[in-house]
């Protein structure tokens, strides 16, 4: 979902910018009054500025309601302890039920690691840093059973790319 939004927004706006730059590059062989162009540029600058401001305010406001940080509310029934070591994860327990809030408490035993949780289609669904001296908490409710993979998303030395683990989500009984 978020990945699709990122791609769509970047593709549309990025392509628009490329087209504008290409069109202006092609126009350069013709001439027009510098004063006219300067005043037109000032108008465009104001238009771009206010368009972006009007776009940004609701986007920022809405997206900040979707932050992944844990806040008050109902404590999760199930707690998972996940610790990154060079170069292995310990995850206890490694099985949780579907449909129930899970609190994943993530830390690093030695250096910084990144706890990246991937679904069965290998799509990243959430993450947090695994830091020595800190416990970062993910609250997540799995809506489908299956095997979720854990990959390291913070470079942690020679075995960084070997840090795989898994969390099994079982069907509700």
């Amino acid at each position: 979902m978020e990945q699709n939004i990122a791609v769509l927004v970047s593709a549309i706006l990025g392509t628009t910018l490329l087209v504008i730059f290409a069109a202006v590059a092609r126009s350069a062989k013709t001439t027009a009054s510098p004063d006219d162009i300067a005043s037109a540029t000032a108008r465009w600058r104001r238009t771009v500025l206010w368009t972006l401001v009007l776009l940004f305010v609701p986007v920022i406001g809405y997206s900040l309601t979707k932050m992944p940080y844990p806040s008050g509310g109902q404590p999760a029934v199930i707690t998972v302890e996940a610790t990154g070591h060079q170069w292995v994860w310990t995850v206890t327990p490694d099985t949780v039920p579907v449909g129930q809030p899970v609190e994943i408490r993530v830390t690093g035993a030695d250096v910084n690691h990144g706890f990246g949780l991937y679904d069965a289609s290998n799509r990243l669904i959430t993450q947090t840093q695994a830091m020595p001296g800190f416990t970062n908490i993910i609250r997540y409710t799995f809506d489908s059973p299956g095997t979720y993979r854990i990959l390291c998303l913070e470079y942690c030395g020679l075995g960084h790319h070997t840090m795989f683990s898994q969390l099994v989500v079982t069907s509700a009984k």
């Binding site: 990122a6 992944p68 800190f134 030395g157």
Partner: protein, 495 residues
Amino acid sequence: MTSTATSDVRVPSAGAETAYAGAPPARRNGLVAAYMGITALVLALLMVFGLLMKASQAGVITIPPNRFYQLLTAHGIGMVAISGLGGAGVMWYFLSRYVDLSPAILLANLVCFLLGVVLVLGGIFVGGFAAAWTFLFPLPAHSQGIWGAGATASYLVGVLLVGVGFLLLFLDTGRAIISKYGSLGRALGWPQAFGRSTDEAPPPTVVASTVVTIINIPAIAVGAVILTMSLVNAYEPGFRVNALLAKNLIYFFGHIFINSTIYMAVIGVYEILPTFTGRPWKSSRPFLLAWTATMLMVMAVYPHHLFMDYANPTWASVLGQILSYTSSLPVLAVTAAATLGNVYRSGMKWNITAGLLFASIMGWSVGVVPAVVDGTIAINRVMHNTLWVPGHFHTYLLLGVVAMLFGFMYFLGQMTGAVDGALDRAGFWMYVVGSLAFAGAFLAAGAMSIPRRWAVHLDPWKANDRVGAVFALVVVVGAIVFVSNFLRRVRAVAA
């Protein structure tokens, strides 16, 4: 876009030339030529490192993980440092038109840089240090026996030495600017931006250089603090630093320094592009306000690197997101708009210099979009430390700051009377199209959730890697054309 002979260039006015202060032109040109010659060589080498890494991830060649992560570390720290060196060359060349800079300090920076590079490379390729350019605490001292304290020390002291050189340089630019304009505020055009002064504002080069000076002095000082603490930790493990504080220090330093490389190099656009279009780049009120806003925002936006450190204060993350968005406004509404307005129906004729400088603003602007998207906390949750991140920064570094540096090199070459040829034109298109496609492959990989900084990729990821490797090769070939061209001209430039 076609290339033409040097007669297309409207050489800067005699007034600008006679305004040169300080070092005699021959010495100034020699030092700047040395800066840009070294920049050209190192850029080519580091791009080859990048190509090798991508080819290895694609399974085309095999690089052992220890060597891969050494290349990764060298590529990262090297690109940051060489962008700084090249940017400093651009800034110094043009700033010396307006203020009295010290060539001895410029030389001292170069000496510190070269000594630092020797130590960094020794630490990496002799000692085996491979903690990535970010050297996140306490990884430099926790290698599991892969590298020792000596390698860590060599790397950290090398980076520290490079930082000392740049600190000297920025102290000198600050001294020279204050000597000429009376205060940093005046050099930023504050009397014109916020007051009722009708005096002519300082030129764009002075405004940008003042911002670069102001932001880099605290950034380098903070970088020196965490480098020193990491160094002590390497030899005295009992001396520990709060890992979250260390991250804040590293990203404050790193974010500001790498952004300042763009701010230094964009001075070349301000100074050179108008010589083609005949439309001077003016320090208008929006320009002055944009630079002051940029100065403040770039020093406060770095928490967007720490969105996934949930322990960091939430207010800092919220501030990081808001400033990530607002930081795009000066780029898109001022720099990009001014560039488009400068070129639009100007009657200019294109050559490689103008093409690269124009393309650099395009790359910077386009790269801002996925960067802002990633600066959204809710999206960062599934994009952070995936290949989306190198996707956006390669767009505005490879096709932004590095294109600015190559454009400046071509400008220096054409000032000697050199003419672009068919090979240069081929190199231009390879570089621009290749960079867009290469960065696009990274972004696509990020959307596929492929993690960054993995020496070995899973089979389903390798198709993307192969596409990336092909376009990386195209970029490297284009860059080698630029580099070989400049190196052929560098003796004439120095003279």
